[in-house]
Amino acid sequence: MCRSTKYQDKLRFLLLFSRQGKLRLQKWFVPTSDRERKKVIRDMIMLVLPRQPRTCNFLQWKDLKIVYKRYASLYFCAGLEEQDNELLALEVLHRYVELLDKYFGNVCELDIIFNFEKAYFILDEFLMGGEVLETSKFAVNVSMEQADTLQEVTQHFHHSFILHSLTLCLSVPLCVF
């Protein structure tokens, strides 16, 4: 009976896409079929991109609540269940951006494009099955670095060359602290 008002403090999915509607990262926390995935991605981009600035960061889509936030050129967009706390989800997004920032140092969209696997690793440390696993910035970094120290120093930040030649929005830091 309690199941009707079930709290599953859980994201259904997390999408990162650019202002041009290019998907940059996708994570599905509940099993979703390929078709459904494509539909959600399409719908999210269509719903979120036309939103005016200074409107609500929450949207209703089917039976889901959509929480999105724009950081520079990138939109972070999460789907959660109706009873969840939208404000909290917004902070989950923000915390993720902070973590990316901490790891990449002034993270920008290009970092995520070229190092998307790292972005996924950080996400995996931060959220486990859609639940917030690690809330401390410090700890996520430690476990990331642990893994990184093992990594040969190849192709580290290979986008940096682009950064030199471009002073464009893709390299605008996602968040300014």
Partner: protein, 1124 residues
């Protein structure tokens, strides 16, 4: 800003292409992914991108399958494959390689492999099985990173069936020295709990250990599990409430390490988890709530309004305060807090404030009154989501006084909404409000018209259904009914006279039905006119064939004369050659009935539209036809599930049997349901009868249970508004809200409205919030779970709650129950013990108890026991003592048990002047063993002790061991509650009695008593639907053929009768040669039985959630049938 972006983007390809010039050649060769991404950016069309990616994929495919590819290259390839997949291209060829990479790579390669697997595969993907071994290996690795990776992937996706394989290893990790491993292990177990709760049941105590972990991270991870567990069973964790409160206190007090701070708020996620847990624990529980008040107060106080995250915490806090047992000053603070949310200029907070308000107004409608001006502003907010949320709030505060305004607002929103989901949802809400609170006929019909036209064909089908039901059933006053119907007819005629082609199909169908039924109420209008209007619908291109059927049916009912008859004839001719069978059938009916008005009047009696039709769901009227067909050699009909069952018997797989069964569930068919009558006619295969039947179905009201009825008899009486009240509120509320605004003006830069606009809003406010003040007397302290009592009031009692539950009388523990004055006054004055029949001593007697406790005894005793029995015994003092003993001992039964069925009293042993007998009494919910210890001697017996034990039964003593001493010729009565630990065919009780005769040493004797399973079986009353649902849910089953009781006309009925009588089974339904039967073992352990007559045998199939129960019950059935 956006300009800059556009410019840079157009510049991007050229800039990127610079890099492929010689200077950056080194870099691009280094990074193939870089190349790919650059390549894509350069392209201008989707088509080119597709070509490029296809080329890339071919390349990747070639390389991954090459044996020379190193793992390092593989990792790089995998990253590229992930990228392509993100762009929406299929990379299924690489799945297996991702698994290989996770298996064989070094740590870093493995990591990418796991990532690829988790991104590519679904939980149910079969390839995941190949990952199990890798995970197993990595869980045992000494490398922490490998363990971490394995745990991460496990918590993301793992085949459910494989959980047992890794569970011990994950469990082990709970004791790992590294906290990050412990934390991940806890979350992995949480994941297991979500997908397969019974697999982790045994480690619940380990969760407690995790809760007490010294690392706050592990503790906070364990809260995920606790939140889930407590949500499912709050009662089981009440003892933890103080601990959770203490943890929250520490967190709020800033006792956690700084690491856990988020924007200087201590562990917000943890706080929110705890608040949610507390709200579950405190719900409807005053004493638990009381220990939380202090910390909730502190949380409210500590949370400074400076950051989103504190608002998130406050929101949870407010929700918690309104969920647990209320405390007035906390409620006040929470209300103020909501005020801050709602009045905030930040739109996100406003939204959350509205959401909180929506949650809270169910308990305290007054709160909405306080914020009425804000709510009205939100109603005009440019952001639709705010508007939508406001409507949600208004929906909760609707009453019969403000319904028109609120519904108008909702309809306004519906007109601009483009989202299907929102439309469906809102339309349903409007219809609900309209039915509940409609002030008058015109408004109701108009609103429903708008609902039908706006909702279009997205509408849930129950909305038109209940609308038509309402029209046809009517209310108390015939006059009122007539007015409503007439109004509907008028409104529909005028709709049809305009352009009907824009109307949705569903609406047209409603119109057809209403015109067919009630247009005769318009006496001034010839049926011809209506028929012409309807005929126009047939010619419309947009009309679906379903709608056309409705049109034809309406025409059939109208029975026109004169000119329209030719038209009707034309129509029926046109459609009687239609390809649609339904349409053809309707056309035929129309043809025949329009020519024979006598028949038409008989088939479609006008006045009978309100009389319920008895539906013969067993289709017994077809019996003759069926037997004829059978005699002619037709194969007997088998319902689908039986066919399936037989099919599955021949093959190996057992398919779900009840998925399609119970074919005709009448409660799901409704007046407007075009399908059901046809289904019936198809399954019966007899069209003549069924057309008749379907007519009845459409023109009159089926007697249906389970269809919700919202429109109460008093729906129309609400017109008399409490006029004295309204003005008072109108006067009071704006002032109040102005106050409110004034108080908070400092922080709300709300645009000051112009005076007229202001007035308008206040007017709106008074119309929106009217009636709330009077309603607000709903006391907070005694808040009920039902949010709105008004809704309840109007529902008609369905009269099906005839079930009378016997109040359970628990034996009072007064000593008079323990020791009964010996009513027998044993006639054997010589004091010698009653003679024993040989073979009645202990061991054999036990057997007797079982065998003789058939229902014959039970029934006999169901009549109140004859109190005078002992008189007869007295009157014939030289009666056989064994015979007289039974009824007389029965009279010693405690009063509250004496009226219940009990078994024959059996003498268990008789020795040394002490006589021990026993019987068991079947109470509604339990079985009570009653032991009679009679002292047959002339002297006192002392220190009598009785102990009863059993392996299969839980024995709890109701009345304690008999007193220390037993007077001569008196009887001591002991009662024991018996509950079944695990099912068995018989339950053996072993007992020890010890006593001390006046002269001599203490004596001890053992004896045993045996109860049959049937003593614990009770009838389980449920409906066929419930049965069907349960059947699928139960896992333990058994099947066997039993002998049918032959003789008599109906062997199935006879057999069922015996089972019903002897085992107290409840026959749920008999469908032809099949029957479904239900019973339960002491109330909470159901067992379902499905019987089918087959080849002279009764094939039974039992299912239960309790292991062994089906087998044991089957044995009992066998015995019961053999004993005849």
């Amino acid at each position: 800003m956006s300009d800059v972006v556009e410019k840079t983007l157009t510049a991007l390809p050229s800039l990127l292409s610079l890099d492929s010039q010689p200077g950056s050649a080194k870099l691009s060769s280094n990074s193939k992914l870089g190349n790919l991404i650059r390549g894509i950016t350069e392209l201008t069309s989707k088509h080119e991108e597709e070509k490029l990616i296809q080329r890339e994929l071919l390349l990747i495919k070639e390389q991954v399958s090459s044996p020379n590819t190193t793992m390092r290259q593989m990792k790089e390839l995998m990253v590229r494959a992930i990228y392509c997949e993100m762009l929406g291209y299929g990379v299924s060829f690489s799945y297996i390689h991702a698994i290989k990479l996770a298996q064989q790579g070094n740590v870093l390669e493995k990591r990418v492999g796991y990532l690829a697997v988790s991104l590519f595969l679904n939980e149910s993907h079969e390839l995941l099985l190949l990952l199990v071994n890798t995970v197993l290996k990595d869980l045992q690795s000494t490398n922490l990173i490998e363990v971490c990776m394995a745990l991460t992937v496990v918590s993301q996706m793992f085949p459910k069936d494989m959980i047992p394989a890794i569970l011990p290893l994950v469990e082990e990790k709970l004791n790992h020295p590294k906290e990050i491993i412990r934390r991940k292990a806890v979350l992995a177990l949480y994941k297991f709990y979500l997908i397969a709760p019974n697999q982790v049941q045994h480690i619940h105590n380990k969760f407690r250990k995790a809760l007490c972990d010294k690392d706050p991270g592990v503790m906070s991870a364990s809260l995920h599990i606790y939140l889930q567990l407590i949500q499912e069973n709050p009662e089981g964790y009440k003892d933890l409430a103080p601990s959770f409160v203490t943890i929250l206190k520490q967190v709020v007090g800033g006792k956690l390490p700084m690491d856990f701070n988020y924007h200087s708020v201590p562990a917000p996620w943890l706080q929110i988890h705890l608040l949610r847990i507390l709200s579950f624990l405190g719900k409807n529980d005053q004493s638990t709530s009381e220990i939380m008040y202090e910390i909730l107060d502190e949380s409210l106080r500590r949370a400074e309004m400076n950051h989103n995250i504190t608002y998130a915490i406050l929101y949870e806090c407010v929700k918690c305060i309104y969920t647990i047992h209320p405390k007035s000053d906390l409620l006040e603070k929470a209300a103020k807090c909501i005020g801050n949310f709602v009045l905030s200029p930040k739109i996100n907070l406003k939204y959350l404030g509205l959401k909180a308000l929506t949650y809270v107004v169910q308990q305290d409608p007054k709160l909405a009154l306080q914020h009425q001006m804000t709510i009205i502003e939100c109603l005009d907010h440019p952001d639709l989501i705010i508007k939508r949320e406001t409507l949600e709030l208004l929906f909760r505060i609707t009453n019969d006084q403000n319904v028109t305004v609120i519904v108008e607002k909702m309809l306004d929103f519906l007109r601009i909404s483009e989202d299907d989901h929102t439309t469906i949802d809102l339309v349903g809400k409007v219809a609900e409000l309209a039915e509940k609170y409609a002030p008058d006929n015109e408004w109701f019909i108009d609103t429903m018209n708008t609902v039908f036209s706006l909702g279009g064909d997205l509408l849930q089908p129950d909305i038109p259904n209940s609308f038509l039901k309402l029209l046809s059933e009517g209310f108390d006053s015939v006059e009122e009914d007539k007015k409503l119907r007439l109004f509907a007819v008028n409104s529909y005629i005028s709709l049809l006279q305009r352009d009907a082609s824009k109307l949705p199909q569903r609406f047209l169908q409603v119109i057809c039905w209403v015109l067919g039924e009630y247009s005769h109420l318009r006496e001034d209008l010839e049926p011809d006119v209506i028929v012409r209007l309807l005929a126009k619908l047939l010619d419309m291109k947009s009309s679906s064939s379903e709608t056309k059927c409705w049109v034809l049916m309406a025409m059939t009912k109208l029975c026109p004369g004169g000119a329209a008859l030719a038209l009707v004839h034309n129509v029926s001719e046109t459609y009687s050659s239609s390809l649609d069978t339904m349409l053809r059938q309707r056309a035929q009916e129309l043809e025949i009935l329009s020519q024979d008005s006598e028949l038409q009047a008989k088939v479609l009696p006008r006045s009978a539209s309100m009389e319920p039709v008895e539906v013969d769901s067993s289709l017994s009227f077809l019996d003759g036809f069926v037997s004829e067909a059978l005699a002619a050699g037709a194969a007997p009909y088998k319902p689908p599930h039986q066919r399936q069952e037989e099919l599955s018997r021949s093959k190996a797989l057992n398919l779900e049997p009840y998925g399609l069964s119970l074919p005709i569930s009448m409660s799901s068919c409704s007046i407007t349901d075009r399908q059901s009558p046809t289904l019936l006619s198809i399954s019966s295969g007899l069209s003549g009868d069924s057309t008749d039947f379907s007519h009845k179905g459409s023109s009159t009201v089926l007697k249906l249970d389970g269809v919700k009825r919202l429109w109460g008899r008093d729906g129309y009486l609400a017109q008399k508004e409490p006029t004295e009240e309204a003005p008072r509120i109108e006067a009071a509320s704006p002032v109040r809200s102005a106050d409110q605004l004034g108080n908070n003006n400092s922080q709300t830069p709300t645009p000051t409205p112009t005076p007229e606009c202001d007035q308008e809003k206040q007017q709106l406010a008074s119309s929106l919030f009217v009636g709330l003040a009077s309603q607000s007397s709903i006391c907070l302290m005694g808040k009920s779970d039902q949010p709105s009592q008004r809704f309840r009031r109007k529902t008609k009692a369905s009269g099906s709650s005839e079930q009378i539950t016997n109040p359970l009388v628990f034996p009072s523990d007064g000593s008079d129950n323990l020791l009964y004055k010996n009513l027998l006054d044993s006639p054997d004055l010589d004091g010698s013990p009653p003679e024993q029949t040989p073979g009645l001593d202990a061991p054999n007697g036990a057997c007797d108890a079982e065998e003789e406790s058939t229902d014959a005894d039970m029934k006999e005793i169901k009549t109140p026991p004859i109190r005078d029995e002992h008189v007869t015994a007295e009157a014939s003092p030289h009666h056989d003592p064994d015979r007289s003993k039974d009824p007389s001992l029965t009279s010693h039964l405690p009063a509250e048990l004496s009226a219940l069925p009990h078994s024959k009293t059996t003498t268990l042993f008789s020795k040394q002047n002490l006589d021990v007998s026993a019987c068991h009494v079947q109470k509604e919910d339990s079985v009570v063993l009653v032991v009679f210890i009679s002292n047959c001697s002339d002297s006192f017996l002392q220190q009598i002790r009785l102990q009863v034990d059993s392996e299969e039964l839980e024995v709890s003593c109701v009345s304690d061991s008999p007193s220390e001493e037993l007077k001569s010729h008196s009887v001591a009565v002991c009662q024991y509650f018996l509950t079944v630990k695990r099912p068995s065919v018989h339950f053996d009780l072993s007992a020890t009695v010890s006593w001390q005769p006046p002269a001599g040493s203490p004596l001890t004797t053992q004896f045993s008593y045996r109860l049959p399973l049937t003593a614990f079986i009770r009838a389980l009353r449920l409906s066929t639907e419930e049965y069907g649902a349960k059947w699928l849910a139960f896992s333990h089953d058994t099947k066997q053929n039993l002998t049918l009781i032959q003789g008599g006309r109906d062997p199935l009925a006879a057999t069922l009768d015996v089972l019903k009588r002897k085992l107290q089974l409840h026959v749920v339904e008999v469908i032809g040669v099949e029957a479904i039967v239900a019973c339960c073992l002491q109330q909470d352990q159901p067992c379902l039985m499905h019987c089918r007559m087959h080849a002279g045998m009764l094939a039974v199939w039992l299912r239960s959630p309790v292991p062994d129960l089906p087998d044991c019950l089957l044995y009992c059935c066998q015995r019961a049938l053999q004993e005849l």
